[in-house]
Point group: C2
Chain length 323, copies 2
């Protein structure tokens, strides 16, 4: 796991986060414990905890007080994944059974709620209303994004702005909040907090676009889930959106396939092929690159140090599709 | 609606709660707004808001500051109902379509999450970590209760203690918290806060036992959902538990039906008949009455006033199955 070298400045704290993630979900009910810990045990890059800690580490060597928040934000993220897998009926994530696959829909819904409640308990420890407010607002906007994603399935007329709004709420927001809260809780200055928040936002946009590209070009082993799962669910991402808008003989065929769940089931491979040949992948790569550039620009507003350098390297790594 | 006379001391505030419930769920996404407001529009007795407000009203005439909390706790309650209806595949609640029936499982899961996030935002306004902590702890224990309920379905060997633990987490806890927070936020003394918290707990226990009795004896119109829905889902409540334990020729037959989902589907009416003839209803009534008595005992620790009297009348009303 090559990316872990960027986590060097916060290595010790990330180990504490890992242990605390499991501890936090402690309950005397074996089924609840096993189901809620299942996804944690499946691993994960812990990017959100890393952002919280690195953002704080830019300003001080002692970021122990950020560990609760790092744990809380990873739990918020995991809770949403558990529910998403119920919604999408996904059976594989990170190459392992989803909570839904192993425990069924009922347990998964409650396990997701439980993980979220435990996250809230962690947040409460800071005794800060502004922080609770940020978390609540984030949850609201993430829910809105999820509803929009359901609503725009099979909608071949959605705009680029629709897509960007959606991935902002789906991914960029929580990454922005991770950087934001790391800096805020450590007592950074308002301009520094803002720069880190924006960094997280741009990185998150780039991250999701890259993820959406991978769904077209990676193999199942790399993804840890079937290739083309977005398109099969009717989720139209940037590469497909580009292909739909491109003048040419295949855009009409693609439009027909993507607007019908029956057709997608039958012709998903053909749709993937049209998208791959349209230049949509390259267009998306350029957009991801633009966001990474903006992320770097934000880092230049911060003190030069090992941690801000690490954040920059993570951004490059995201763009290089190494995550 | 006769019970509303007990709400007289907080009539004006309850109207504000009603308006605020809808306002709070405001979002620019029509589908999310409609789905999350659906259950609110279906009505409801707003018992939890009433408890928050009456608990505070025991100590002061000005309880405006409790309105946010009253709204928050009703939203926590509604969010759990929205998810429960997905889990139970329930189509009717309060005589109307459930969110699940009208909008499907996917939207319902997100609508529940959204309602909960909005509740959290309301809670954040108090800027009190102890309060956030109580809400988080409540959510955790409610989740645990729901998991236990799933696990104990068709389990004919569960004990009375299992049942009482379950209904505590399912119902009594949030009622206790409503009374607790109303008193806490208004600045009541610790013994008074404790008395109100215990009042809410005992009332909640009585409330749930009564609800479980009604599932055996009320008609569909009164219930707003099909009679016997607990037993049909394999949920073994107090009247059935009594019948299972009673020495006699029918307990073995009942045990056989209740332990198998196939048998329950076929012989639910027979199981209901055995329970009704077992004395289980009368036993449950006595238990509900005991809890109401304990609730009254707590009220005697409070200042004598219109609001504490109203709480007592609500307790009697619950026992008389008028709710």
């Amino acid at each position: 796991m090559d990316y872990q070298k960027f986590f060097k400045p916060i290595e010790r704290e990330l180990q504490l986060v890992e242990a605390e993630l499991l501890n936090t979900l402690d309950t005397e009910l074996p089924l609840l414990q096993e189901s809620s810990r299942h996804l944690i045990k499946a691993g994960g890059k812990r990017l959100r905890p890393a952002f919280v800690l690195l953002a704080g580490r830019v300003f001080t060597d002692r970021v122990n007080e950020l560990i609760h928040m790092a744990v809380a934000l990873e739990l918020v993220h995991l809770a949403s994944l558990v529910h998403d897998d119920v919604i999408d009926s996904s059976l594989l994530r990170r190459g392992k059974d989803t909570v839904k696959a192993k425990f069924g829909n009922q347990i998964s819904i409650y396990a997701g709620n439980y993980i979220l409640a435990r996250a809230l308990m962690k947040v409460a420890e800071y005794n800060r209303a502004d922080v609770v407010d940020i978390i609540a607002d984030t949850s609201i906007r993430v829910c809105e994004g999820e509803i929009v994603q359901l609503q725009t399935c099979f909608d071949v007329n959605q705009t680029l702005k629709d897509y960007l709004d959606r991935i902002e709420r789906k991914t960029a927001l929580l990454m922005a909040v991770s950087c934001h809260l790391g800096a805020l809780l450590i007592g950074a200055s308002p301009p520094h907090i803002k720069a880190l928040k924006n960094f997280g936002h741009y990185l998150g946009m780039s991250f999701q676009i890259t993820d959406d590209i991978l769904d077209f070009i990676a193999d199942e082993e790399t993804l840890g889930k079937p290739t083309g799962s977005d398109i099969r669910q009717g989720i139209i991402t940037l590469p497909a959106l580009y292909a739909l808008r491109k003048e040419g003989e295949y855009s009409e065929e693609l439009r027909k396939i993507l607007s019908s769940s029956d057709d997608i089931e039958r012709y998903a491979d053909r749709a993937m092929e049209i998208v791959r040949n349209s230049g949509g992948i390259e267009f998306s790569e350029r957009m991801a690159q633009q966001y990474v550039k903006r992320a770097h620009k934000m880092l230049r507003l911060l003190p030069v140090c090992q941690s801000s350098a690490a954040l920059g390297q993570i951004a490059d790594f995201v763009y290089a599709r190494e995550f």
